[in-house]
Symmetry: C2
Subunit: 435 residues, 2 copies
Amino acid sequence: MAQLSPAELDETWRILSSAERAEGFVLLPRDEAEVFLLSLSPHDQEELVWSLAPAERRFWMRVLEPDDAADLVQAAPAARREELLALLDEATRTEVKSLTAYAEDEAGGLMNPRFARVRPEMTADEAIGYLKRQSRRQVEIIYYAYVLDGAQHLEGVVSFRDLFRARGDARVRDLMTTDVVTITEETDQEEASRRLARHDLLALPVLDSRGHMKGIVTFDDIADVVEEEATEDIQKLGGSEALDEPYLAIGFLRMLKKRAGWLAALFLGEMLTATAMTFYEKEIARAVLLAVFVPLIISSGGNSGSQASTLVVRALALGEVRLRDWFRVIRREAAAGLSLGAILGSIGLARILLWQGLFHTYGPHYLLIACTVALSLLGVVLWGTLAGSMLPLILRRLGFDPASASAPFVATVVDVTGLIIYFTMASVILRGTLL
Amino acid sequence: MAQLSPAELDETWRILSSAERAEGFVLLPRDEAEVFLLSLSPHDQEELVWSLAPAERRFWMRVLEPDDAADLVQAAPAARREELLALLDEATRTEVKSLTAYAEDEAGGLMNPRFARVRPEMTADEAIGYLKRQSRRQVEIIYYAYVLDGAQHLEGVVSFRDLFRARGDARVRDLMTTDVVTITEETDQEEASRRLARHDLLALPVLDSRGHMKGIVTFDDIADVVEEEATEDIQKLGGSEALDEPYLAIGFLRMLKKRAGWLAALFLGEMLTATAMTFYEKEIARAVLLAVFVPLIISSGGNSGSQASTLVVRALALGEVRLRDWFRVIRREAAAGLSLGAILGSIGLARILLWQGLFHTYGPHYLLIACTVALSLLGVVLWGTLAGSMLPLILRRLGFDPASASAPFVATVVDVTGLIIYFTMASVILRGTLL
């Protein structure tokens, strides 16, 4: 294999075998190889490092910062983890082990325990010199230095800009901000991401329950989280479990399992439509015309329900809507459902009248049929919109993820109830004529 | 109004009137007010600044960096923009005007023209001192200093960490990285966001066509973009236009317009189901039992189609799948569709046989009916999965956004064709018995 540039390697990465990847990687110059390795996902990092020769493998494991090493180890199959940990030096191994102890979605698991620290009594010049020395060790210097007292309590934070701007003899104590946005090791990573974004920060300090600073969570870890969370939500809204791996990379059977579960569950729910239809078999036999509009009615309910639930799920994820806003959401969606139902109902009415005028499709009772369809659409769309907007709030209230397949789940619920609404409406309006 | 802390103001923000917001804001201490203002969305910033007294309004407009001021001006109603621009000093106004000239989704519009620069021939100590002086002016000092020659050509980039780590007399030329990830003013902001994330950078330098450096785009602007883009995709997938405003903040009529358009379009498409059903009215009249399974069949196609299209839309957005991968996607989805169809078909078969055993629901030809339903499910799910995965690729190929309502759109397409598959299957299998 000829030597590839990092860009070429990146371009062809997905079509290379593990052995080819390793071969291309070891031919890169040392510093380009490091940048390249860090640009890979933990999953790809692990596969690559694992396929290297033992000496190379040890070397690259030791290049990684503890938080990155922890991600790599967590991406490895369980059987390899001990062996990977054994490649690290003693001190890093301890740090990595403690990081991997956090639940996957806790801030503690994203934390880097090596951060830049200064003392409140230092001058700006002393602090800059001290940071200069720290930066030679493996410390993540990222725009902020954290001001700790002797007992490792966080007293404040000072940005490089503040230190640069200040007179050289100004005290850190007087330059620092004491109003610091912090998180704990157990903070959910979505919450950490929201705080980082809200305050436009590059890093958040992580405190334990006694206010001791344990590490920092930085924007680059969080940026990945934001994207991952959005992907999970989108995939769940689409009626699948989150794949957790790139679409073309995930094994076929693993993908199938994640997709088949929800589809089968929705199918079982949807079977209730067959039960409901069986219940109305006599009506259909008497007025076959009724069956003609069944797909139209239930899909309108399904579409309006998915739309409402998608909007509410995203608003919940962004923190735009909270549980206590439920009544405002109901009021909005009741109004939206009525309006949307009226619009679709009118279109449906117009369509039936037009077809009747053109082709005489619907027989002598076309007006009653048109009313049945239009009023059913109004009812089904209103119900779909309300059910779609409330379901995510209820799921959140019960402690579930509101995104879990809620759009297709709502569609299923609305399909069954939509049939009931439609046939009830028909039996009232058409009694004595068609029924 | 009593003085509120920034946290209290933030907490109550959504329920306060413009006047109350302004009142609470002016009572904040100067530095807390600045942090608070910067934490708001451009839209809220504009409303707040606009509702302040003229002197306050001028003061706060001048506090903003040019890129933030440009965002604020773009968030303002057209009629107010000139007046807001007039509040800026001459130099900033020119910068802001040139920033607002970019298309909304171009990197140029996110760019801050004030960045930290050094010369290649400086020593590390000189560069640190020079950065110190720049930081006193309104320069966005964000971890990197850009190395420019006399003609403003970008020669390389050096991080503070590199400067700190180096010996004081080392030359910037020898410390800098020359392999710089850059963007142009016209780079799409999604692409900028991908490069930033891919290389774990805090900022990207923006070059014009002649290689002159014009400014930087920083992680905090990009983080907002990532979230906005995901929100747009999610809302479009849910069968609505992107709201572009928070759910509870957007005006009711504006929201209704964005939702009614797609729902009505889908409804018009769905009317084809009524046409198709009319076409099969005779078959239904002869075998009412056939109508019973219509909702089950079409919703299974719809669900599998939404699932496939959602997965492919997200994979396209993340760059995991590109257009040229279309054949790999087809192959995967053909296999997935067959497997999922076989699973749902088997469940359907089992359900019919079970009900027949328990309740004798389906009459003497139950076995033929069971076969019709099971084979239709196989066909409809396979077709839904293929259509769902290809539609986003086709939309992208034609230059449209693959997310545009594609999940419900696929469901609609699959509903109509699903009916055709089902009744064709029925007419073949049941000819001579039920039909």
